[in-house]
Subunit: 344 residues, 2 copies
Amino acid sequence: MTTPLTPRERMVAACRGMRVDRAPVWLMRQAGRYLPEYREIQSRTGFLERCRDPQLAAEISLQPHRRFGVDGVVVFSDILLPLCSAGIDLHFEPGPVMHNPIASEADVARLENGTAAAIDPTCEAIRRLRAELGSEAAVIGFAGAPWTLAAYALEERLSRDVVRLTSLSYRETAFVDRLLAAMTKLVIDTLVRQIQAGADVLQIFDTWAGNLDEPRFERFAGRALSAVLAGLPRERPPVILFARGAAHLIEPLARLGADVVSLDWRVNLSDAAQRIGQRVSLQGNLDPGALFGPPDEIRKQVHALIAQGRQARGHVVNLGHGVQVGTPVEGVAAFVSAARDPGV
Amino acid sequence: MTTPLTPRERMVAACRGMRVDRAPVWLMRQAGRYLPEYREIQSRTGFLERCRDPQLAAEISLQPHRRFGVDGVVVFSDILLPLCSAGIDLHFEPGPVMHNPIASEADVARLENGTAAAIDPTCEAIRRLRAELGSEAAVIGFAGAPWTLAAYALEERLSRDVVRLTSLSYRETAFVDRLLAAMTKLVIDTLVRQIQAGADVLQIFDTWAGNLDEPRFERFAGRALSAVLAGLPRERPPVILFARGAAHLIEPLARLGADVVSLDWRVNLSDAAQRIGQRVSLQGNLDPGALFGPPDEIRKQVHALIAQGRQARGHVVNLGHGVQVGTPVEGVAAFVSAARDPGV
């Protein structure tokens, strides 16, 4: 028997592949629209207002922890927020809209001169969470990946096929490289500010990297992710990488130097454990849709997932994507309680 | 050296895995919004109007063939059209909107009593195309898969996470099975009408099957696809299956009894040829974004693809998804001409 760890220790240790008493648990997008106490705040505030008020952001971040007792509390914010201090006029209507998408070299220059200062309210929320939580939970900060931020910054409202960034990557490679370099700098600044604020773990979301085949992932999104990881301090919190729809990219994702690869729900966790689970820890990966099912079924699926995760050097129990709007609160409760009591 | 085949023979033979002089070529969504002559028609007609006028639909289908000389002419229509004669009030605004999405058993009963008669103008367009084209090109009909039609029919505007169908599949399996059975009947009726009209090849689009992990694909979308294939006449045109984002599903897709599996651009064609290419022919799979690149690059990529495709029992040159809005006409021209002149 191992000595019980604090939730904060458990989360960090599992990410680093160290021995733990049980796999830690949290949920992507756990602070959000499925909780009545969030919807109450939502009804009287705008999305960016909630991100920019450290008190509100910390409160929203704590809501799921109070209900479920997760091992990781992810700060309430948005991957696009740093763009606001780098020359992009971002709004949520309710989806993200760029009123001045990047169209020229001059626009990229403006981005290069920007900083991630817009993330400072998130950093202040991280400080408050750290002070409030102590060892009771790890505080998780996050950023969008360069490829994904570039995808959004190039279109007023991002098309499902990510047409602007994709077509430019075939036609104007030098422009795309310059844009990705600027985004890389912005992402590093975002993460360094969160490290300084006390984040225990960092997650990078590459929402649109899954659109790339493997050679183009390595050439564009993967190269930029490597540069982000190389640009962080040597002594840093563990970093989790998540790419949506990236079943075909798990090997290249595991080679980038991150501590954890977060798996889409369509990947078989045992299979991923055999392929990459000795090099990195794994996070995931229940189908977010499963939380709409009966609590007993959810518990069975979580226990099956935990058994599979034991084949990896470390496992963080999570969904394979964010919690969906309309998810029953009792589904989330069953998920967390099954992970906290994994049985034998 | 093999005797040159007519384009129509070439297309059918490649699908069935018979010897051909060269791999045939067509493009998913080849009739559409990247062509100025289409946009001219678009400017004075509504989308459903174009689908419902056999003369217009045939004309639009022929436009890319006149420019590029493809081996397969896909009929202009929409996978959702058959829903209109099965009780669904469908509009395009411009994306698909169901004014009365399926919400109850009574709604499913209404669907069960419907037919695919709404596809009859498409069938009339197929007859005209057959008469016009002779052996000059194969005429390709198509239908949506049961899982994908169910996804759309359950939501006013389909959410990116396909929340209604996904959550019901975890919570109300019997209801989903009944809905999929009704859709299966509708899809069979759609395809049989197109066969009777003279379609040489049929493609089934399972746009949303890629959201399922392998066990759930087999349980829901795959089971329904098998039932569709089993419900078609024994002597039938070759059937191509396409599922978007289904790199993790190519083995189960190849086991369903279709003649061709159409690959997403994220799958490596050589790898797929080794894994499933003796059981089925393969279609695909250039990244649609590549058509925005320089014509010389496109030609190189098409020739590389054709070399990879030779490892399969048959290969139909195509994109890995539909042609995107804004694609340069010269990109499509380079794609088709490279496939028609594959070199040594």
